[in-house]
Assembly symmetry: C2
Homo-oligomer: 314 residues x 2
């Protein structure tokens, strides 16, 4: 079944009691810097500090009472793990999280802090998948993939839905792309709500698998990418790629220097904490590889989870 | 003439086309940490990154066309200087700013960036005042004091007005106190809008002149205070002190460690950049010297102007 705006509207109703309606911020210095009128949809101010809560919450509350009783599970060491743990906690069901044993302590603590039950495994994709399989068979928990899941995609699309409610006359929406959950949800919402709106993705030059996939017309996996934008390391999924192919105008790559400069500018001028992955979307405007001047541009600020001990400009 | 809620309502109308209506944020981690329900009025997201824009803007747009033609002037090296420069730029009138010649380059640049015409002087109060006097006589510009000015006080009160529109059932409002412009405006708005609301101020232990003034029943000047909260170094004024005496329940002092811990917690969990002076208001909740548990508490986050090269926890 093809996903549509309806899935996103339903998700919006479903998560409304649990998620923040995040503010849309504007900033004159940023507008002048990039030569356009920018509207920042601040998912860094969402629960768990990232848009990921929307998708996880929609997935958890989409389960029947019977399904829910057995809990949910996933493998992730990032924001999705925290998001799923918190959504499950809200519904008072268990969340089983598979994490590589070399994940940073701060991420382990965060997931445990939201009540997630962590199973550690070796840091390989194979170990993650086999461990998750074992847990699923053991507990009967429902798997919630970080992005290749229609409930998750629909949830992520609710950010763009709200943004277009607040600023209906946007010319362009920019979102970062990693696995493509945010980008595909955003592109469905945007293109179905407003005919002719342009959806553009930002991707790190150093992890440009989605850019290359679009060129090739087939998913090209990401192989050991190294970028400061650590939320954008994953490859596209077989659900997200066709949506992106159909609805996203283009993917623009951003240099590491552009990511860091954009991140710092937003901290300094807009006064919000954004993570490098969010700065990739600003970076599209910052580096001006494509001409978006004088347009009204919505940017999904994906998250704000950073280590305050290690700032990239220090 | 006594100031009242009317002055603040008029200011709100006057500045509406120019100032941001800043968002009110909530955060579950913060609530749990302090044991209360906290609503953050984010003036760090205001123009120039501080509530100061409200007062400066109200003062500038209160001038008659004839007065305005000669411009405005002030002595300040902080957020008020930037705020006045920007408000004057918006009205297309000159802003003459007296700054000590040892002010940090970044502050000089910021004021110049907003089009302020800077005159440097020796870093003494006497030099500042005599230089300002000279400029006033030379240009006919209207002096806009950073806090001891009814137009400024009324402007600062509009933040609390908006906060109480968004969250009418607050039990307490907390604001930081330096010269008392924000605190007196906040206290007028709060106590006139809601009978019985408690207005509490946060002040650095290391710059506790307002605390001591309240005890003594007379203004005790601040003498060479040393605190990280560099927006709160000034003494109360003869306009702000009586308002504070009448309407503020108490002033709570906060340790340097409490300021830094509060600041870091807000950056890490709420994902917004706040300056140490803002953290002083959070510090009142953080240090729990007074029992505010389970109450609904509004906090005015006064600003977000910090040097990202020098974070106090690094």
């Amino acid at each position: 079944m093809t996903m549509s705006l309806n899935n996103i509207r339903e998700a919006a109703q479903r998560i409304k009691p649990y998620a923040h309606r995040t503010p849309v911020l504007t900033n004159e210095s940023l507008n002048q810097q990039v030569g356009a009128q920018v509207f920042l949809k601040c998912e860094n101010l969402q629960k768990v500090g990232a848009f990921k809560f929307r998708g996880a919450c929609n997935a958890v509350y989409s389960l029947s009472a019977e399904e829910a009783a057995s809990g949910v599970c996933t493998h992730s060491s990032g924001n999705h793990a925290q998001a799923l743990a918190l959504a499950a906690k809200m519904r008072r069901i268990p969340a089983y999280i598979v994490m590589p044993d070399n994940a940073p302590q701060v991420k382990k603590n965060a997931v445990a802090g939201y009540g997630g039950q962590i199973t550690f495994c070796e840091p390989t994709l194979q170990a993650r998948e086999s461990t998750l399989d074992m847990i699923r068979l053991d507990t009967g928990a429902s798997v919630v993939h970080p992005y290749n899941d229609e409930r998750v995609i629909a949830g992520q699309g609710t950010a763009a839905l709200e943004l277009l409610e607040d600023v209906p006359d946007l010319d362009v929406i920019i979102a970062p792309v990693g696995g493509g959950g945010l980008l595909s949800g955003t592109s469905i919402a945007a293109t179905e709500i407003k005919k002719g709106i342009r959806v553009i993705a930002g991707e790190p030059e150093m992890a440009n698998d989605a850019f290359r996939s679009m060129q090739a017309g087939a998913i090209i996996p990401s192989v050991n990418p190294k970028t400061i934008a650590d939320g954008l390391l994953t490859s596209l999924g077989d659900l997200t790629f066709p949506i992106i192919q159909k609805r996203v105008e283009q993917i623009v790559t951003v240099s590491e220097a552009g990511i860091i400069a954009s991140m710092r500018f937003v901290w300094e001028r807009v006064k919000i904490i954004i993570e490098p992955s969010s700065a990739v979307a600003i970076g599209v405007l910052w580096e001006k590889k494509i001409d978006l001047s004088r347009l009204k541009i919505g940017v999904i600020i994906s998250g704000g989870n950073v280590d305050l001990e290690k700032l990239p400009w220090l």
